[in-house]
Subunit: 149 residues, 2 copies
């Protein structure tokens, strides 16, 4: 299952926030009932994924480190930065304060599906980013066509 759609939820005073129901469903076949969060290296937002994907990433870097040492080093940064956060009974997690600060989130968190991963944005920051992206994508529209499987 994939992380799809964009959902806005409130963060309370303690940093608690409901992970959208659909996102939780996307992890329900997973061993670890929760998500992995780490700060994005390309955008002002938090990135998230399942534990399963972390393990895949680990396997991949294991195999590739002979060839691209640079990338391997960068990827390994993630493992030191990643936090595993399990859902409470109502489906919430507590986002660490430093991540909230990094992403500039105030009050409301925007969960943005990206397939195998997702992101958590401040609403305003995301709108800014999305506007830029749309413009770029429109310029390169031919590459947007769905490719054959």
């Amino acid at each position: 299952m994939l992380f799809l759609g964009t959902i806005e939820n409130k963060i309370d005073t303690k940093g608690r926030v409901s992970v959208p129901s659909d996102f939780r469903m996307a992890t329900k076949n997973d061993d670890f009932q929760g998500v992995i969060l780490y700060h994005s290296f390309t955008h002002k937002c938090i990135e998230g994924c399942t534990m399963q994907r972390m393990e895949q990433l680990s396997d991949a870097t294991d195999n590739l480190d002979l060839f691209s040492e640079e990338n391997e080093n960068l990827n390994s940064l993630i493992f030191s930065d990643a936090r595993q956060l399990s859902f409470d009974v109502t489906g919430r997690i507590v986002i660490p304060a430093d991540l909230i600060e990094f992403a500039g989130i105030k009050g409301n968190a925007l969960f943005v599906g990206r397939g195998k991963t997702f992101q958590i944005w401040d609403k305003d920051e995301f709108e800014k980013y999305q506007k830029e992206t749309r413009e770029k994508a429109f310029k390169n529209r031919p590459s947007l066509s769905f490719k054959k499987d």
Copy 2:
């Protein structure tokens, strides 16, 4: 299985609409009993596909490189906008209000098969679009002849 044909169904006040039986059949071997909807990038309509297709798309664009911006922006556009909608017992889905508005659908929804995907149109909008397309096709008739490969 493919989405074929054109079927018109009513949308009630809550946005509920029966997905045509043939369309449902096209997903019956799928794990997820429902469809994925997102707004078209090229037309005033809603586009739809199966979860299986989304997963294929995800696999195709997924590389474990966390630092390349290009692929990410494309993924973001598609996956952040997609909604997964499961059938109820009678085979209906609830189309989100913003998608209905985007496509300008009022009361009746036209399900238009496109093979691996389908579209949902407002009836009038579709007729308008179809008329334009026919005119264009007529103008460019010579280039429309079947080509040999």
